[in-house]
Amino acid sequence: MRFLNRSAGRLSRHRRGPLAGLVVLLLGLLMTGGLYAALSPAQAEEAQTDAELVAKGKELFLVGCSFCHGRNAEGVLTQNGNQLGPSLVGVGAAAVDFQVETGRMPMVRPGTQNPPKPEAYDDEETAALAAYVASLGPGPAIPAESDYSIDGLSGEEREAAITRGGQIFLTNCTACHNFAGAGGALPRGRWAPSLQGVSEKHIYEALLTGPSQMPVFSNGNLSPEEKRDVIAYLKSLEEQPSYGGFTLGQLGPVSEGAAAWLLGMGTMVGFAVWIAAHTTRTSKKKVDA
C-alpha cells in the first residue's frame, strides 16, 4: 500500500514521467501488431508451414495418443497380445478428423465400443494431429466440402440422389444401422451408432475410413457421388416428418411391441384396477317411499 501511494504521489508531482514516451511507443507498437494479427488471420496461418503443423501434431500426439498408439503410431500390443491401440500408419487424415472431431478419440479407456463424446481438441489441434498422422503413410485425406455437401444440388438432382442413396443405404447400411439409420446391436454387446443428426462430413469420413467394427466403403467401393447420395437420403430422413405418428425411436417391432404391451395393456390394467378399487357404494339407507 505504501508503495502504491508513493508511486501515485510521484506521478502527480511529475506530470510526465521520464519513461512515458517509451511506454506510449510500446503501446502503439502493440496495438499495431495486435490489429494486424486480428485483421489478417489467414495470412498468419498460411505462414504456418505444413512442417510446423506436422511438428505441432507430433507434440500433441506424443502427449495425448502415444500411450495406446505408440510413440511412432506403430500400435501397442498388451501382454496378452491384444491390441491396445492399432497402428495409425496409413489411416489417413480423414480417420483422425472423424475420430477426434466426434470426440471418439481420445478414448476414455481401451475397448471395442467407442461412443462419441464432446471433443477434446479444438479445430487447429485436430488439423495438426491429422497432418501428423497423414505424414506417416498414404491414406484417405479429409474430404472437400464439395464431396459431401448436398446444398449445391437442384431440387430434381436432389430427388434422384435421395432415391439412389436410399437403395444404396438399404443394401449396404441397414444391416447394422437400421432402416432409418437409428443404429442397432452388434455381437458381444457392441452397437452400431445412430446416424440421425450426424454431420455430412462425418458420415462421409466414416464411410471412407471404416471406424472400429465398420467395414470400409472406399471410393473404389462406393464412389464419392454414391456416398453423397447416401448422405442425401439420410438427411431427407431427418427432414421429413414422421408420417405414421410417434416413431418410438424408429427401432421397429421392439420398441413398438414394448409400447403396445407396457403402455397399451398397462393402461387397460390400470383402468380395471381403478374401476374395481373405487366403490360406488354409499352408507346411506334406502328410504322407503
Binding site: T112, R164, Q167, I168, T171, N172, A175, C176, G184, L186, P187, R190, G210, S212, Q213, M214, P215, V216, F217, S218, G220, N221, E226, P241, S242, Y243, G244, G245, F246, I275, T280, R281, T282, S283, K284, K285, K286, V287
Partner: protein, 361 residues
C-alpha cells in the same frame, strides 16, 4: 336368478340344518344413485354425455379423413403426420368413450342384485340323456340310412370326392420339392444351383458396376449380385424377367470383403478361391435364409440378425455362434482378362437353409 328379498339380497338355501349356522351375505349397501333421485339423474346425464363425446369423435374422424392431406403433400402436426394422428386419436376416443359410458352405466344405473348360483353336476339328467338318444335313433330310423345302403354309400363317395378339388388347388401353392431341386426350366433354377457360372462378373448390388481388385481396399465390404441381373439384350430388354429375376437375386446375392491375405485361413481345396485377400460368400444365411451383411471388419465376423448365427469370413465362413448348421457357401473368385472380378464357377453346394433332399456331405 334366485329370488330376492325386499333388501335386494338373495334368499339363502333352505332345507337341512347346517352344523354351523349360515352367516348369510353381508348387509346390502346402496349406491348414491339408488337412494338419491338427483344423483340418478346426474349419472344418467353423465352416461349420455360420454356417448355423445363418442359420437363427436366419430364425426371428427370423418372430418379428419377428408380434410387432412396425405400422399404428396402431407399435413403435419408437431412433426407428425396430422392425418394418422387425428384418425387414431378420434377413432380411439370414439371407442374409449363408449366403453367409459357403458361402464358408468353398469356401475351406477343398472340393476345391482347380488346373485348366488348353486353348483350343479356337469352331467345331464338321466331323462335328458335317454330323450336325446331316443330322438337320435328315431331320426336315423326315419332317414332309413341303415336300410338304404345305396343312398348312404353314394353320399359317402361324393363327400370323399370333394377332397379332390382341394388337393388339386393346393398344388398351386408351389412346385413339389422334387421338382424344385432339379428343375431344368431356366438357368439357375432349382435349389441346388444359382445363376453364377464360370466367368460371370461380380457386380455391385443396386449400382450394377463390375469390380476391379485394385478398387477394393482392406476392410471394404461390397454387397454384390451376379452380372446377369443387370445385363440387357440387343433391344435393351433385361435378360431375366419376372420371377426369374427374383429367384436369381435371392439365391445369387453375395458379400465380398477384402482382408489382409495373411488373416485368411483357406479351406481345403479353396486355396485359390480368393484374389489378394478378396473373398466372396453367399449372403443367404444357412439357418433359415435371411440375407446377412452385418460384417465387422475388426473380427471378420458376419452376424445374421434373425437368430444371431455368426460366421467367420476369415475361416471359410465357419459357424462360430448360433443355430446355423453349415458354413456360408463360398464363391470362388478369379480375375478376367479385363481385370474384373468374376466367379470361377457356381457355388459348389446349395445356398440357403437345409432341406430334406439336400445332400449334407
Amino acid at each position: 336368478m334366485s329370488e330376492h328379498t325386499s333388501d335386494n339380497l338373495p334368499v339363502g338355501p333352505s332345507g337341512e340344518e347346517e352344523p354351523i349356522a349360515n352367516p348369510g351375505l353381508p348387509e346390502h349397501t346402496w349406491r348414491p344413485t339408488d337412494v338419491d333421485a338427483k344423483a340418478e339423474k346426474r349419472a344418467e346425464r353423465q352416461v349420455a354425455f360420454f356417448f355423445a363425446l363418442s359420437a363427436i369423435c366419430a364425426v371428427l374422424f370423418v372430418v379428419a379423413y377428408f380434410s387432412l392431406d396425405v400422399g404428396d403433400n402431407w399435413d403435419t402436426f408437431l412433426g407428425l403426420g396430422a392425418s394418422n394422428l387425428a384418425l387414431g386419436t378420434s377413432l380411439g376416443g370414439a371407442l374409449l368413450f363408449i366403453g367409459i359410458g357403458v361402464i358408468q352405466w353398469a356401475r351406477k344405473l343398472m340393476g345391482d342384485h347380488e346373485i348366488v348360483e348353486m353348483r350343479h353336476p356337469a352331467r345331464s339328467s338321466d331323462e335328458d340323456r335317454e330323450g336325446t338318444l331316443a330322438a337320435l335313433a328315431a331320426g336315423l330310423e326315419e332317414s332309413g340310412i341303415s336300410r338304404r345302403p345305396l343312398v348312404r354309400n353314394s353320399l359317402l363317395g361324393s363327400l370323399a370326392m370333394l377332397g379332390l378339388p382341394a388337393i388339386v388347388v393346393l398344388r398351386d401353392l408351389g412346385p413339389l420339392p422334387g421338382d424344385v431341386y432339379d428343375d431344368e426350366e431356366y438357368e439357375g433354377a432349382g435349389l441346388e444351383r444359382t445363376v453364377w457360372k464360370k466367368g460371370m462378373r461380380v457386380v455391385r448390388d443396386v449400382i450394377g458396376t463390375p469390380i476391379k481388385p485394385s478398387e477394393v481396399e482392406i476392410g471394404d465390404l461390397i454387397n454384390c449380385e451376379p452380372a446377369i441381373l443387370f445385363e440387357t439384350d440387343e433391344e435393351g430388354e433385361p435378360l431375366l424377367h419376372g420371377v426369374e429375376v427374383q429367384i436369381a437375386k435371392s439365391k445369387g446375392a453375395v458379400i465380398l470383403v477384402r482382408m489382409e491375405p495373411g488373416d485368411i485361413t483357406h479351406g481345403e481345396g479353396r486355396e485359390n478361391w480368393a484374389v489378394d485377400g478378396i473373398v466372396a460368400y453367399s449372403k443367404i444365411c444357412t439357418h433359415v435364409g435371411c440375407p446377412i451383411s452385418l460384417y465387422e471388419q475388426s473380427t471378420h465376423h458376419v452376424l445374421c440378425p434373425c437368430h444371431q448365427s455368426t460366421f467367420d469370413l476369415a475361416d471359410s465362413a465357419r459357424v462360430v455362434f448360433g443355430p446355423a448348421a453349415r458354413a456360408l457357401p463360398q464363391l470362388a473368385l478369379e480375375v478376367d482378362e479385363e481385370g474384373y472380378l468374376v466367379a470361377q464357377d457356381d457355388f459348389n453346394e446349395p445356398v440357403g437353409p437345409s432341406y430334406w433332399e439336400r445332400d449334407s456331405e
